[in-house]
Symmetry: C2
Subunit: 200 residues, 2 copies
């Protein structure tokens, strides 16, 4: 059964996190969410039990575990996912252990998914220049380095990028397809009851 590591921080866009996690679970992917604190919060964490991530629109989510570079290594998962949300993506993109881990996933040809402002992690992790997309609000930080596209989902090598909450379903279903195949994508999509004419 494939497995995915999904990072989360204070300020993560909770729809992007939830749609990806839930859709992958529906496909049989074992998901682990890991909380990445801001540097300022890291020192306080032992006092917080259980930890929770404050989503960008105020939904508080209990992550499955803390992010630990020792425990959560690329050999243990088939994919890593970086959701957006401006403040959450800032924390994730500026974390040196996250950057290191993303490079490890990318270099070992595992699926690397980034959505919305989460695509900034491709920049801060120094992934090779290639086709990429993101939320329009961070396009200007990416388009001089990467080949910037405006497609809802861009698959380039093992890097999958997407634009925002409105593209989170096709993003998640693309991850399902890459991890579990086209048939599973169709199986998962059906019971979600998308309106007729939905372009994914």
């Amino acid at each position: 059964m494939p497995s995915a590591l999904i990072l989360i921080a204070d300020g993560t866009e909770e729809m992007e996190f939830t749609i990806t996690y839930d859709t992958l679970v529906r496909a049989g992917v074992t998901c682990t969410s890991a909380f990445v604190p801001t540097p300022a919060d890291a020192s306080k964490l032992e006092a917080t039990s259980p930890p929770f991530a404050r989503g960008s629109r105020g939904i508080n989510i209990l992550p499955d575990t803390y992010f630990s570079p020792q425990a959560l290594t690329a050999d243990k998962f088939d994919a890593i996912v970086i959701p957006g949300g401006a403040k959450g993506a800032e924390t994730l993109s500026e974390s040196s252990p996250v950057q290191h881990l993303v490079r490890e996933f990318y270099n070992s040809k595992k699926v690397v998914g980034m959505i919305c402002a989460g695509s900034l992690v491709a920049l801060t992790s120094s992934l090779p220049s290639q086709p990429i997309t993101s939320h329009p609000s961070v396009k200007s930080k990416l388009d001089s380095i990467f080949q910037y596209k405006e497609d809802p989902v861009v698959v380039s090598n093992n890097l999958v990028t997407s634009r925002g909450p409105g593209t989170a379903f096709p993003f998640a279903l693309t991850l399902v397809e890459l991890l579990c195949g086209t048939k599973k994508r169709d199986e998962v999509r059906g019971p979600m009851v998308f309106p007729p004419g939905t372009p994914w």
Copy 2:
């Protein structure tokens, strides 16, 4: 500023909950999520701090408050929302205080939103027979009593019903339109970056 009460239980579909809550917050609606325990769990609750709802696909969400029929009355909110998820909808639909509150919202012409299996609450609350939709899996429980439709979102009087995670965005945007107007719906929809051709 309009306000909405969004119910949540163990087994609530976390995408339907999160998409609705987050989209309403983006529109400036003050959202309060309230946890409804199963009867079996209700006696244990004081030992649980903070409470959290175990979503249908394993995402744990910290609700804003406990459901309390004394504190959460229809005069305090402009809308009530019942998400789906089979087990969560079972708990919500079988709760007599929830049924009472939903009737109170409906009779005072406040917006009553139900999605997926959450539409069962229209049945158990004995709302008047009218056009309705739901997840296909619970259609057979509703279609002899209500005028069952298969549209993504059905608006009938002040009752708004919808089908599943795949219709959660148009459901939430319809609630925004009813609570905040068409202009706000457009304002909220834009930055979500739906793919071209998305039919809502």
